[in-house]
Subunit: 438 residues, 2 copies
C-alpha cells in the first residue's frame, strides 16, 4: 500500500517538509478558515516555518493543545489537473467507496449536471473550503483538508443508461468470472463510482455526505464500503503497510518514478486502441471486496503462513532471501531441493515475471464491518487496483491467482466492480465532460 508513499513526496504531511509546504498549505486555505485559525490559535500557531522548534506547540490559556495546521489536517491535493486525484497519492487513513445508480428517467443530461455539481463540490472539499448551500453540513468545519481526494468513475451500465453505449471503452468489458468468486451482485458494479480518501474520518464522512446529497433525485446509492489504512505517524518503519492478515502487502507495486509507470496505469494522450479519446489521462479501477478468513488463517503456523505468501511475515522479505525490496529468486532451492518460494506462493503467482509483465497499481484499504452471523470477522481488503487496461493488469494476474494461489483458501472475493475513471477536470470543467458533452 505504501510503496507509493515512499516516492510521491507531493502528499507528505507538511510537518515533515517544513516551511515551504506548510506555508503553502496554510495560505491556500480560504480566508474565512484562515482568519478562524489565527483567531483561535494566535499567530504562533501558524508560525511553523519560522522557528525550528515551533512544533513544541503553544498552549492557549485554557491549556488546550494547539497542533499547528501544518500537520495531518494541512495535507492538501488539487482536484483540478490532467489526472484525477486519488490514484497516485499515498493511501490515506480513511476511505469510502460508493456506487450510485442513476434514477429511473435520469439520462445523459442529468448525469452531466450531476458530474458538474460533484466536481464543483469535490474541488471545494479538497481545498478545505465549505460547500455552501444545501450541502453544507458543518461536519468538517474545523478541520484542514486532511489530504482529501475525491475520484469519480463510470461503470459499464452507465453508458446504456445515458445513451452513450457507442462511446463505452472496449477496455471496460466485463471482468471474466473466476472460479473462486462468490460475488454479491447487490454490492457489485454500479453506474457511478465515487472514491473518497482522507486522513481524518470526519472529513471523509463529510465529503461522502455532501456528494450523496448533491445527487438529489438523479442517483441513488447502490453500495458503499468503508475502509482504513495506517494513520500517518503511527509507524516509523520504512516499510510497506500491513493488511489484516499481518502481511506486509504491496511491496511489488509499481512506483511513479518507474519508466513505465504511466504506461501501465494511465490511458495515454489521445486514447488508445481500447480506450477512446475521452478517456485520455484516465485509468481503470478494479474494485474487489476480498474477505479474509482470519480464523482459518490464524490457525496456521508462522511457517505455513510464510510459505503461503512466499515472504517473511516479520519484514516482507522474500523467502529466497534479502530484504523487503529484494527481487524474488524464483529458482532458489533449499538443501533438499525444495523451492524457497513455493510454486503456489502468492508472491510467485502474482509476480509480473510470471504474468507476462502484467502490472497494476494496488491502492487498497482494509475493512472491518463487525462479524458475520457465524461469528467470523467480516473483515478483509477493499482491493482497488489501477491500470491503463484491465486486460493487461488485473485480469491476467487474477487468472493466474485463480488457478494456483495458495492464498485462495484463506480469502473470498465477495464483490466486484470495474469503473472507467476519466482524466482530471480543468478549472471550470468537470470530470467526464469530454464524454458527456463531446
Amino acid at each position: 500500500m505504501s510503496d507509493e508513499k515512499a516516492t510521491t513526496t507531493e502528499a507528505e504531511p507538511p510537518r515533515e517538509r517544513n516551511e515551504e509546504t506548510a506555508g503553502g498549505a496554510t495560505l491556500s486555505l480560504s480566508r474565512r478558515r484562515l482568519l478562524g485559525t489565527v483567531g483561535a490559535a494566535g499567530a504562533g500557531g501558524l508560525a511553523l516555518g519560522g522557528s525550528g522548534g515551533a512544533l513544541a506547540h503553544s498552549l492557549s490559556q485554557d491549556r488546550t493543545p494547539v497542533t499547528p495546521l501544518a500537520s495531518v489536517g494541512a495535507g492538501r491535493h488539487s482536484f483540478h489537473g490532467t489526472r484525477q486525484p486519488g490514484i497516485v497519492e499515498p493511501g490515506q487513513a480513511h476511505g469510502h467507496l460508493a456506487a450510485f445508480d442513476l434514477a429511473p428517467g435520469a439520462g445523459r443530461r442529468e448525469a452531466s449536471a450531476l458530474l458538474r455539481r460533484w466536481s464543483a463540490a469535490a474541488a471545494r472539499l479538497m481545498a478545505g473550503e465549505p460547500v455552501e448551500g444545501v450541502a453544507d453540513t458543518g461536519i468538517a468545519d474545523d478541520a484542514g483538508p486532511s489530504s482529501l481526494t475525491v475520484t469519480f468513475g463510470f461503470g459499464a451500465s452507465f453508458f446504456d443508461r445515458t445513451g452513450l453505449a457507442d462511446r463505452r471503452p472496449a477496455a471496460l468489458e466485463p471482468l471474466p468470472e473466476f472460479s473462486a468468486d462468490e460475488l454479491d451482485s447487490r454490492r457489485s458494479n454500479g453506474d457511478l463510482w465515487v472514491q473518497i480518501c482522507a486522513d481524518d474520518g470526519l472529513v471523509a464522512f463529510n465529503a461522502l455526505r455532501v456528494l450523496q446529497r448533491e445527487t438529489g433525485r438523479v442517483a441513488r446509492p447502490r453500495w458503499q464500503m468503508t475502509g482504513f489504512n495506517r494513520t500517518p505517524g503511527a509507524t516509523d518503519r520504512p516499510r510497506t503497510a500491513r493488511n489484516l492478515m499481518g502481511q506486509v502487502d504491496g511491496t511489488n507495486n509499481p512506483r511513479p518514478e518507474d519508466d513505465d509507470f504511466d504506461r501501465h496505469v494511465f490511458v495515454p494522450r489521445g486514447g488508445d486502441r481500447r480506450s477512446p479519446e475521452w478517456m485520455e489521462h484516465g485509468s481503470y479501477a478494479v474494485v474487489r471486496r476480498i474477505r479474509m478468513l482470519l480464523d482459518e488463517w490464524d490457525e496456521q503456523s508462522l511457517e505455513q503462513q510464510e510459505r503461503v505468501i512466499g515472504r517473511r511475515k516479520s519484514d516482507g522479505a522474500p523467502l529466497s532471501g534479502g530484504d523487503e525490496h529484494t527481487p524474488l529468486d524464483l529458482e532458489k532451492t533449499d538443501a533438499r531441493g525444495r523451492l524457497l518460494v513455493p510454486f503456489n506462493a502468492h508472491a510467485r503467482v502474482s509476480a509480473p515475471e510470471t504474468s507476462g509483465g502484467a502490472t497494476m497499481l494496488r491502492r487498497p484499504f482494509s475493512y472491518h464491518d463487525g462479524f458475520l452471523p457465524d461469528g467470523a470477522p467480516d473483515a478483509g481488503l477493499l482491493f482497488v487496483a489501477w491500470q491503463a487496461d484491465p486486460q493487461k493488469g488485473f485480469v491476467p494476474v487474477q487468472r493466474k491467482l485463480d488457478r494456483g494461489d495458495a492464498l485462495s483458501r484463506f480469502i473470498r472475493h465477495e464483490a466486484s466492480a470495474l469503473f472507467a475513471v476519466p482524466g482530471g477536470a480543468p478549472e471550470g470543467g468537470y470530470v467526464g465532460q469530454p464524454l458527456l458533452e463531446g
Copy 2:
C-alpha cells in the same frame, strides 16, 4: 468529546511535549521493537529531543519518509493502575465497542481465567509489545502503541451467570425505559464489555482480534460497534470536536481538574452505598447507539438547527452569547421577550443546572455503517458516558431529555447497555480480580 483533551496532558502525542516524553515512550518500547526501529530509521529517527528541527525528518536512501516514533504511534498509556484506562484520556481516533456473552457452561472460574488472559494481553498491546502465542497476528507489528487503551466491564447478566448475583452493585440496576427508545436487544447489554481505543485503525483492529481470540470457548461475541473521532492533528482549533450533525459536541463535559470530577465519575475508595468495595476506583459506562436522522436534520435551516441545540453551529457558543465555554444564560431573552436559548433546546435541557447537578463524562465516537435499506445513512453517535452512579448521571439527564429535548426528533436510540467497570489492575493482577477471587 475533547474537553478532556484540553486538560489531560498525560496523553498528548509526544511530539507536542518533546524530549522527555518522546524519549520515555521510545525507551519503554520492547527491545525487539526498539532495535527494529534503530535498524530501520537510523539513529536520526530517534533523536527527536536532541535537535530543535528534528521533526524535519530524515529521508533514508530509498526516499522513504521516516516519521519519528515520537508521533502518533508513540502515544502510550499504562494498562496497570488504580483506574482502568480509556476513561479520562483524550478520545482516540478509532474505537471498537464489543460485548461478549459467556458460553453455556462457563462460570466464575472460566470468567476469572478469561479476565486474567485479557488483562495480560491488554497490558502488552498497550505497551506496543507483541502478544506471543496463539494470539500473535502481526497486524500491529510495525506500529507504535498509538495511544491504545483497553477497558473491561461487566453487564448485569454477568453476575447471574457466574453465581455472583449477591455481589452485583445496586448501581448496576437496569436503565429505565425511555419513551424515545427503539432498542434492538441483540445489540444491547451483554455479559462482558470491551472498549478498545487507538489512534491507528490497524492497532485498534489488532487489539480487538487478539482479545476476541483470547476468549477461546469461554465467551462469544454478542455485538460489536466501530466508531471514529478526529485524527490527531486534523484541526488546530482549540475547540471541542464535532459530531456528524456538524455540532460542536461535549463542551459541558466535566474536566479532570474540576474539584468534583472524581466524585462524579469514579466510585470512591472502599465503595459507597450503591457500589461494593470491589468497585472502588471503578466507574459505570452507559453505552447507547444513537442514530442521527441526518436527512431530516440537514433539511433544517441553520437557524432552526441552532435553536434545536441552543448553540451556534459555527463555534458552539451559546445562543445567549459569548464563546464556546461561556456558561449558558438560561434567562436571557431577545427584544421580543423570546428566550435566546429556547425552552426545549438540547443544551438547556441537558445542562447540569437544570438536572439537579447530574453529571457524566461523555466520551463518544461517531459511527457510520453505510446506509439502511431506505437509503438513510446508518450513522450517528456511539455514546459512551462515565459516572460514579448512573442514577446521578445518565438517568436523570436522559429522563429530562426524554420529556422535552428538541433534538429528540432527529435521533433514535437504537441500542443500550450499562456496564460496571471495575478499578484498574495492579502489575500481576487482572481487572475484576477483587470480584472474581474476593
